[in-house]
């Protein structure tokens, strides 16, 4: 057997081995990179230092780009580039800005020209600075405090940002998918047709393996709508986040906060007497333990949705950061080996992220169901 065949066979057999090989090639690429740099660096000392500067600036740019992607935006930009004249061009479309500042003010975000221009509405002037809208004077001056924090006032902002836009897209997609699934039942004699055949087992799974075991046969029905909606919302949002449009819905703390708050509210509104008794006056333990347990249990009430919020946020953000960093590596080490390696790694990671998207949706739904179940537990 030729050696390359043995290698591929082993790679298939042993995932750790393949990772080792990848790391090995990665190291080679790094050393070859430094070697080639040394080779070119012979020319002048100045060029080497410029190279180094370039690299740090690229690194900085990539970092900025990643954080820019993770944050919200007033534009729906797919990509940007520098044209021949040296102007930075953006490809995408502006979104409406809605401000409540002594009356409703609505305009398109294109007015900001990506922060280069000030939008004036009557007496007040608005400036886009680091993806946030501030009130400024007609010159667009930004004031800072000692810690380099902006001290300008912010207007009350209800803009349709990129995330809001994407949430609308997910919502419309869900409405279309599931209402047509419901309609296809009526048409085809209670049998789903088309993509509904794919989603129906998932709905059944959520009912039979998430809702019923955790909440109980009697009370699961009133939570089903929330569980289904939240599951498909998170899943679709995450899957949309893997498209090249730079969507990052559930990697935003506001989004996960909102979902967690909903879980918190639903849990506590629907909770029965037994649940509250277990929190404030744990039955079956001695008096001092009762007093000791009450604050801990009360803290748990808030910690449960908090953990939901952080888990979803951290998982999706981390996935996006790692994926973008690996793609960023292509621009740092410009060698064919590192590029192909980055590409392969990014490809593998994207596949992993597809799994993570489903897994996070499942975990969020599962834990929500578990908390609803706690709130509905009957006395033993």
């Amino acid at each position: 057997m030729p050696p390359d065949k043995i290698l591929t066979k082993q790679v298939i057999k042993n995932p750790f081995f393949s990772i080792k090989i990848l790391l090995f090639f990665f190291c080679i690429s790094l050393s070859s990179q430094s070697f080639s740099q040394d080779h070119h660096g012979e020319n002048t000392h100045a060029e080497a230092s410029r190279n180094k500067e370039d690299k740090t600036s690229i690194k900085k740019k990539i970092k900025e780009y990643i954080f820019h992607h993770l944050g919200d935006s007033y534009y729906f930009d797919i990509y940007s580039y520098d044209d021949d004249a040296g102007h930075h061009k953006y490809v995408g479309f502006p979104l409406p800005v809605i401000l409540w500042d002594k009356g409703l003010k609505v305009f398109l975000s294109s007015g900001f020209k990506h922060g280069k221009s000030i939008v004036s509405k009557g007496e007040t002037h608005y400036k886009l600075y680091h993806e946030k809208i501030y009130k400024t004077d007609s010159e667009g001056t930004i004031h800072y405090d000692d810690h380099h924090h902006v001290t300008n006032a912010k207007p009350f902002d209800l803009s349709i940002t990129k995330n809001v836009f994407n949430i609308f897209v997910v919502a419309l997609l869900m409405l279309w998918l599931f209402i047509s699934l419901a309609k296809s039942y009526a048409k085809n004699g209670n049998i789903a047709k088309g993509f509904g055949r794919f989603f129906e087992p998932i709905i059944l799974y959520i009912r039979d393996d998430i809702a019923i075991p955790n909440i109980g046969e009697k009370k699961y029905k009133k939570y089903m709508s929330f569980l289904l909606t939240v599951f498909f919302f998170i899943w679709f949002s995450d899957m949309l986040g893997l498209t090249p449009f730079g969507v990052n819905i559930t990697g935003n703390i506001t989004v996960t906060f909102c979902l967690a708050i909903l879980v918190f509210v639903i849990t506590n509104i629907t909770a029965n007497k037994n649940y509250w008794q277990h929190i404030f006056w744990m039955p079956g333990v001695p008096m001092p333990v009762k007093i000791l347990l009450a604050p801990i249990e009360l803290l748990g009430v808030f910690l449960k949705p908090f953990s939901l919020m952080i888990r979803l946020y951290a998982n999706i953000s981390a996935g996006h950061i790692i994926l973008m960093s690996i793609i960023g590596l292509i621009f740092i080490f410009k060698t064919w080996l590192s590029t192909s390696l980055s590409f392969m790694l990014a490809f593998a990671l994207t596949l992993l992220e597809v799994l993570v998207a489903l897994l996070q949706a499942y975990i969020f739904t599962m834990l929500s169901a578990l908390y609803f179940g706690f709130a509905n537990e009957e006395k033993h």
């Binding site: 995330n163 949430i167 209402i179 929330f226 909606t229 935003n252 703390i253 906060f257 909903l262």
Partner: protein, 165 residues
């Protein structure tokens, strides 16, 4: 943590809550409720169909069982009827035989009686005939015997001797 709090945007929170709750209510009304209802209905339908199929099978089994039973009973009945019929016919034959015997014996008896009567009559007639014949013979003998006196006396003597009075 500070960065996270800085990332929090009230506008996004407002929109997401609004969209999510609207989505939840719309989907509940137009999607989840009908979908879950259909699934439930289908499940009950399947369960009922399976149960009714099981029931039908059971009934068929029962029916087969009862068919067998009936067949068995019918066979028994047939045998019984056959047996009865045989018994009746036997009895009838016996009866007929008895009647025939009685009749025959009656006929025989009558025949015997008739024969006996006829015989008696014949015997009587024969006796009468013999008597008259013997009388006429005796008359003829007497007449011939009595023609001679000596002979009469001999005869009387002979008769007397024979009778040993």
């Amino acid at each position: 943590m500070e960065k996270l709090i800085e990332q929090f945007s009230f506008g996004l929170f407002f929109w997401l809550s609004f969209i999510f709750i609207a989505l939840l209510l719309l989907l509940r009304k137009y999607a989840w409720t009908p979908i879950l209802k259909t699934i439930n209905e289908r499940e009950t339908l399947i369960k009922e169909s399976l149960m009714s199929a099981e029931k039908a099978r059971e009934e068929m089994g029962k029916l087969q069982e009862s068919n067998k039973q009936m067949l068995k009973e019918a066979k028994l009945e047939r045998e019984k009827i056959l047996k009865e019929a045989r018994a009746i016919s036997d009895k009838m034959i016996d009866e007929a035989k008895g009647v025939a015997k009685v009749e025959a014996s009656k006929i025989v008896k009558q025949a015997q009686e008739t024969i006996a009567a006829d015989k008696n009559k014949a015997i009587k007639e024969l006796k009468d005939e013999v008597a008259s014949l013997s009388l006429s013979i005796a008359e003829k003998v007497v007449t011939t015997e009595l023609e001679d006196k000596k002979k009469q006396e001999n005869l009387i003597e002979k008769i007397l001797k024979e009778s040993e009075i």
